[in-house]
């Protein structure tokens, strides 16, 4: 329940930033994908049905404020969660670098999914032009990830939440 509450509040904050920051940011690509960072943190440190459901819910919440295809972000956020879950299960240890790499890959996957949907709808051009934007956004998200992981870890400690492998 505490995990749900923590990630619910963090999700609201992240979505508020992601939807308002583009209004004053000169370049949209400079606004990071903060929700992916939350999903990666879940995948690396919280395993079980509840964290997976939270990841899906975060994707669905993003869908409500983004794009036109309900379920697209939900699908890809769950995929990112499963990927990071698998990675954390196979590595001896997970640190901020691993998390940052996972965020970069996750951000690329979710962004490419959004662009890919437009591409499949017969849009004449734009995929190549959007790739640099996608890379920049993923890189910024990855750079921010360690600080957010650290902040989340501190809040979890304060809330008495235990991370990793202990089934939620």
């Amino acid at each position: 329940m505490r995990l749900l509450l923590l990630f619910g509040v963090a999700l609201l904050a992240c979505l508020a930033i992601q939807t308002t920051a583009p209004l004053w940011s000169p370049v949209r690509a400079l606004v990071p994908n903060l929700v992916v960072i939350l999903v990666v943190d879940l995948g690396l440190r919280h395993h079980g049905a509840l964290p997976a459901s939270i990841a899906f819910g975060m994707g669905y919440a993003t869908d409500a404020l983004s794009g036109t295809h309900a379920g697209l972000d939900a699908l890809f956020m769950t995929l990112v969660y499963l990927l990071t879950y698998e990675v954390s299960g196979r590595l001896m240890m997970t640190n901020a670098i691993v998390g940052a790499v996972a965020v970069f890959v996750g951000s690329m996957i979710t962004g490419a999914a959004q662009i890919g949907v437009g591409f499949t709808r017969g849009t004449p051009s734009g995929f190549a032009e959007l790739m640099p934007m996608l890379l920049v956004q993923a890189a910024i998200s990855a750079a921010l990830a360690p600080a957010i992981f650290s902040a989340l870890a501190r809040i979890k400690r304060a809330l008495g939440l235990r991370a990793i492998a202990e089934r939620e």
């Binding site: 983004s66 794009g67 962004g111 662009i115 849009t123 004449p124 051009s125 734009g126």
Partner: protein, 266 residues
């Protein structure tokens, strides 16, 4: 004692002049007195200057604060004036169109950044519903795709999922204006024989039952005839700068659908 009494008695009368020791003393003291007076004046001036400086510093700080407040107020007034101008334009537009509409503030953008949507601070409580047209003083903005009680989402016309029935105002050539992934608009399904030129104005046809007829969509930027196929490759520059949108108008009354004029057979 006697000398002093004598001196006192002889010097009492009116107009009595000072004795020579007194005059000598007066002369001898004069330079010192001048110097002392000068010094005292300088000292007083220094003290006054210092006190003035302290006061000036205080006054300067106060004036700086007042200036900052005035500047803030001026910025706020300029912002209010700009908002007032935009709202007046929207009001004029609403009156010109003769439709019922509600104004809404833009409160957010798309969460992912790869779709072109905006969040509005007006929802079903304000009469906004899914499918309604959104316009600004510059032209067509988009269509409401979701609405909650106090907020709604607009799909902008430059999103790759958007399609809008339009025509060239000069030649009346029809086409569907759609968004492209990297921004901008294209006018699809314009026949190769149609007369479309760069600089032509593209307006809504009103046939979609969402947007009133004749609203400005954009200007033809480029017409490509080189590619094979049945249709022209027409690029359109949108009339609205979607990044600068702050207030929009949501048309709450959809225009009447065009009919053939014949009564349906019963």
């Amino acid at each position: 004692m006697f000398i002093s009494l004598h001196m006192l008695s002889t010097g009492l009368g009116p107009g009595a002049v000072a004795s020579w020791p007194g005059r000598m003393l007066l002369e001898a003291l004069r330079p010192f007195q001048v110097a002392t007076t000068g010094l005292a004046e300088s000292g007083t001036s220094l003290v006054h200057d210092y006190l003035d400086l302290v006061n000036v510093r205080k006054e300067n700080s106060k004036l700086k604060l007042e200036l900052a407040q005035v500047r803030t107020e001026q910025t706020r007034l300029a912002e209010l004036e700009a908002e007032n101008r935009r709202l007046s334009e929207l009001l004029e537009l609403r009156q010109a169109l003769g439709v019922s509409a509600v104004g809404a503030n833009v409160i957010g953008s798309d969460a992912s950044g790869f779709s072109r949507t905006l969040l509005l601070g007006q929802g079903t409580d304000g009469g906004v519903e899914s499918g309604m047209a959104v316009i600004s003083a510059e032209g067509v903005v988009g269509k409401i795709i979701a609405a909650s009680a106090h907020a709604s989402r607009v799909l902008l016309i430059d999103d790759h999922n958007s399609a809008l029935d339009t025509f060239d105002q000069r030649s009346r050539a029809r086409g569907i204006v759609a968004g492209v992934l990297d921004g901008g608009l294209v006018m699809k399904y314009v026949g190769r024989t149609d007369d479309v030129k760069p600089g032509d104005t593209v307006v809504t046809s009103g046939l979609d039952g969402i947007f009133p007829r004749g609203l400005l969509v954009g200007t033809v930027k480029k017409v490509g005839r080189d590619a094979p196929g049945l249709f022209l490759d027409v690029s359109v520059a949108p009339a609205v700068n979607f990044r600068r949108l702050e207030q929009v108008l949501v048309i709450t009354q959809t225009p009447p659908k065009l009919t053939s004029g014949k009564k349906p057979k019963s």
